[in-house]
């Protein structure tokens, strides 16, 4: 029996070798097949998205449609003890290099190294940051970490702590690299500024190192020998102070930790775009960071930065103007940080449409010509697609007139860009045809409810202040629609883009009178940041009262009728929007067309068991939620975003595999809790593994690693 094992490794190795020759360029960190560097050819997943182009694609086929159902648990890592309390929201994607898995985990955001074959613990590193971590805007374990090597045995793990420190560790033993920064640490809060009125004059001053609001849940981007670090602030929708830290992106030398460049996402006086912050609003406004993953094209020497919304997401009365580079995709030079091009995809954003997932760098053939393009997934269902060298839209993207806000002081943009191709991967407005229609009664009730809202057939319906006639405005894209931090994926061999997307995040967007009084310009002559609020630094300070903005979920009530939400009243807890509630969508990027779209996730219990639908045959609805996919040679692999108690199995969630060509579900394995972090896959000693983070509700977080049984591998390879 020793022979089959050898044969088993041969086929995938051959496949990968071919891929390496055709797909990979040398000196590309994380992709090169050069000796000493990690590569997909070696089965290694060496950066958050598998490569720095954002693909989440691995050319493996050992786990395929014929055997996915046979997957078994190889090992797992429960993360409860990796921090002062258990975590329920593990969003990490591990890396696998040279037989070791590296990941962040636990409420301390510890770094963990495991034997990738057995799960045995190699080392753990954690930094206790005390109050600085307690005050941090982006807490918990984060999305993961990054890897760098010089190819000669110097291997380093790089991550950003909860308290916004860039840390470098020796990959072999978890010890800080002494000559990187100060003892392995660069304090990222140093150099971050915010606007402050000093003796009647606006100045940009250093944020306080403990209370100053900045951090990130994302991974630093390692591009060649450069580390690029993003910045994020707290959730912006309900923020009631006009000031905040100004978003920025910085690059550091991977060996020394010395800063190479900084790119201010809000251009200062004299810089390109500064005039787009009207009435002096640049002085006080903040946010406008880059909170999600970035991508880089080493050949072109460009880094792609997806921009956040400016301070106070849903109200722009304190920041008139388009506000560059908010909600913009910016390409900057990797060596200098100088802007090469930018495209603002939402002008003067008031919908929280900041750019949520890594830009995807795709090489495709359009109209017979090879093209290097970048696709930016969004919450509003569009994949904004540009030539990644010139920044020109690949397909026409006309500016079209959009509805205007009637909120006092708000100067909404008269137009917004509308991509003509590819088609949306998820709904971005509530079309009349998409209103619930399980029964005529339900539809009539829903339409009656909708009469109380500003409801228009466009993704750009502004927020409203409620009055006798209008309770809110109907939005679908919004904070939780479409794609979020898990991002999307791309198969470079076929030119097909794949994504999971939330297709049903309907809300009635409202700025309440109380909230509006707090944020309106007349009441903010002094413009302060949250940490300047009276009593902020004292123990017992409560987060600002958030009784303002009200956007009751219309995703269906958990119990008897959707609660007091007037949007879903009388719908018996059912969503106001028709299924599918969540989808997997495939777009052919060679043509900019829809290849397929299927519902993702079992029908939620609340729908399947609804007394209003008794006796009806409801096709699989999919589930609301945001989860990321991983691609192999032939499969799209992704877990359910929700728990269900489907009749044919125990309560839990499924990890599913879809055929990349047809969208047909070809296999599924059971998990004790929904997917909470993007899955990844790696190959080690001839065996393919899939690792996925799960948890939520009362299920504490864990990583689960799946592989085919050894017996199954022998059968497959002997055949």
């Amino acid at each position: 029996m020793p022979r089959p094992v050898k044969r088993m490794t041969l086929a995938p190795a051959l496949l990968i070798a071919i891929f390496a020759l055709t797909e990979l360029s040398p000196r590309v960190s994380g992709q090169t097949a050069a000796p000493g560097f990690p590569s997909k050819a070696n089965g290694e997943w060496s950066s958050y998205n598998s490569d720095i182009k954002g693909s989440r694609y691995m050319p493996f086929d050992q786990i395929n449609a014929s055997n996915f159902n046979q997957l078994e648990v190889a090992f797992r890592l429960k993360t409860d003890n990796l921090g002062p309390r258990p975590e329920y929201k593990l969003e990490g994607t591990p890396l696998m290099v040279k037989g070791t898995l590296y990941m962040t985990a636990g409420t301390r955001r510890s770094v963990v190294a495991l034997n990738a074959k057995t799960g045995e613990l190699k080392w753990v590193y954690g930094m206790d940051e005390g109050r600085r971590a307690e005050m941090a805007p982006r807490v918990l374990s984060g999305r993961g970490l990054s890897y760098w090597t010089d190819g000669k045995g110097d291997e380093r793990i790089i991550y950003v702590t909860i308290g916004y420190r860039l840390v470098q560790l020796n990959a072999k033993n978890g010890q800080p690299i002494a000559n990187f920064g100060k003892g392995g640490v660069v304090d990222l809060k140093e150099g971050v500024v915010y606007g402050k009125l000093v003796n009647g004059k606006w100045q940009q001053v250093q944020i306080p190192l403990v209370e100053g609001e900045i951090g990130t849940n994302s991974t630093p981007l390692v591009a060649g020998d450069t580390i690029v670090v993003q910045s994020a602030m707290a959730e912006g929708l309900r923020y009631e102070y006009t000031n905040n830290s100004k978003g920025l992106v910085r690059a550091y030398d991977v060996r020394s930790g010395k800063q190479i460049w900084r790119f201010d996402m809000m251009p200062g006086p004299g810089e390109f775009g500064h005039e787009t912050w009207e009435n002096g609003s640049w002085n006080w406004t903040g946010n406008t960071g880059v909170w999600t993953e970035m991508s880089a094209d080493l050949e072109a020497g460009l880094v792609y930065l997806p921009g956040e919304s400016p301070t106070i997401d849903a109200y722009g009365g304190n920041r008139p103007g388009n506000g560059l580079f908010a909600e913009s995709l910016v390409a900057v030079d990797l060596k200098t940080g100088k802007r090469r091009w930018h495209q603002q995809v939402v002008h003067h954003g008031i919908w929280d449409y900041d750019l949520p997932g890594a830009p995807l760098l795709m090489d495709v053939t359009i109209d017979g010509k090879p093209r290097k393009i970048v696709g930016q997934p969004s919450k509003q269902g569009w994949l904004y697609t540009f030539d990644r060298i010139t920044g020109e839209p690949v397909w026409p993207m006309p500016e079209k007139a959009v509805p205007q806000s009637d909120v006092p002081g708000e100067k909404s943009s008269p137009t917004q860009p509308f991509p003509s191709k590819p088609p949306v991967f998820s709904r971005n407005y509530l079309a009349t045809d998409d209103v619930i229609d399980f029964t005529p009664e339900l539809r009539a009730t829903a339409l009656q409810n909708l009469k109380k809202y500003r409801w228009e057939q466009t993704p750009f319906v502004p927020y409203v202040i409620p009055n006798d006639k209008v309770l809110g405005s109907i939005q679908v894209g919004n904070t939780m629609g479409g794609v979020n931090w898990p991002g999307s994926s791309f198969n470079p061999e076929t030119g097909i883009f794949y994504t999971q997307a939330n297709n049903s995040s309907v809300s009635g967007a409202t700025l309440s009178h109380e909230y509006f009084e707090k944020i309106r310009p007349e009441n903010n002559p002094n413009h302060i940041a949250i940490w300047e609020a009276p009593g902020f630094a004292q123990p017992g300070f409560e987060a600002p009262s958030t009784s303002g903005y009200r956007a009751p979920s219309a995703g269906g009530g958990g119990g008897g009728g959707g609660g007091a939400n007037p949007l879903t009243a009388g719908l018996g807890g059912l969503p106001i929007i028709k299924p599918p509630y969540g989808v997997i969508t495939a777009l052919d990027m060679n043509s900019g067309t829809l290849k397929w779209q299927v519902p993702h996730g079992d029908t939620p219990d609340a729908v399947r068991n609804s007394p209003l639908l008794k006796g009806m045959n409801i096709p699989k609805t999919g589930q609301q939620g945001i989860v990321g996919v991983v691609l192999t040679k032939s499969l799209v692999i992704v877990g359910d975003p929700q728990m269900t108690a489907s009749p044919d199995r125990p309560r839990g969630a499924m990890l599913r595999a879809y055929d990349q060509q047809t969208g047909q579900e070809v296999g599924a394995v059971w998990m004790p809790a929904p997917q909470s972090g993007n899955p990844m896959t790696y190959m080690l000693d001839g065996r393919q593994y899939i690792i996925v983070a799960v948890g939520g509700g009362i299920y504490t977080s864990e990583y689960i690693v799946f592989a085919l049984p050894q017996s199954q591998l022998r059968i497959t390879t002997e055949r």
Binding site: R85, P86, Y88, K89, T107, A133, E134, A136, R138, V139, L140, N217, A234, E235, L237, R238, P356, T479, M480, N484, W485, E542, A543, P544, S545, T546, S547, G548, R550, A551, P552, S553, G555, G556, G557, G558, G559, G560, G562, G563, A564, N565, G573, D605, A606, N609, P611, Q624, G625, P641, Q642, M643, T644, A645, R651, P674, G696, G697, I698, Y699
Partner: protein
Amino acid sequence: MTTRERTVVLFVALGAAGIFSAALRAQAPRTVWDGVYTEEQAKRGAVLFDKECAQCHGPSGAGGSMAPALTGQAFSANYDGNSVGDLFDRNRTTMPPGKEGQIEAPDNAAITAFMLQANAFPAGETELPSQSMMLKSIKYLAEKP
């Protein structure tokens, strides 16, 4: 037996029956559909929720991009078949991040009551207790039994 004595006996009997039926009620498993919190308690919880939770979880628990919704299908599916004690304990031991365990038990019970209300479970005559062991006996059922 005088009329008065008869009345006393009747009262005693009625009282015993009342106690008996209360005991029966106590033995029957309660669920979130049995009016396990009061309107007043949920109102207090709403104010606390706004201060302590809504910054991340959104108003009325609608959810944000960092923190999940605390109403709706996905939330209820997480707790379906578990207990109100599990929900209470989750709040008590892990929320809000950075202030775990610092919210007083009666306040935590009020927040939990508000969350039940936000998920459209009916209010009743008695307040939700603030001891997790007692709350373990109240079953969280997403669908009305």
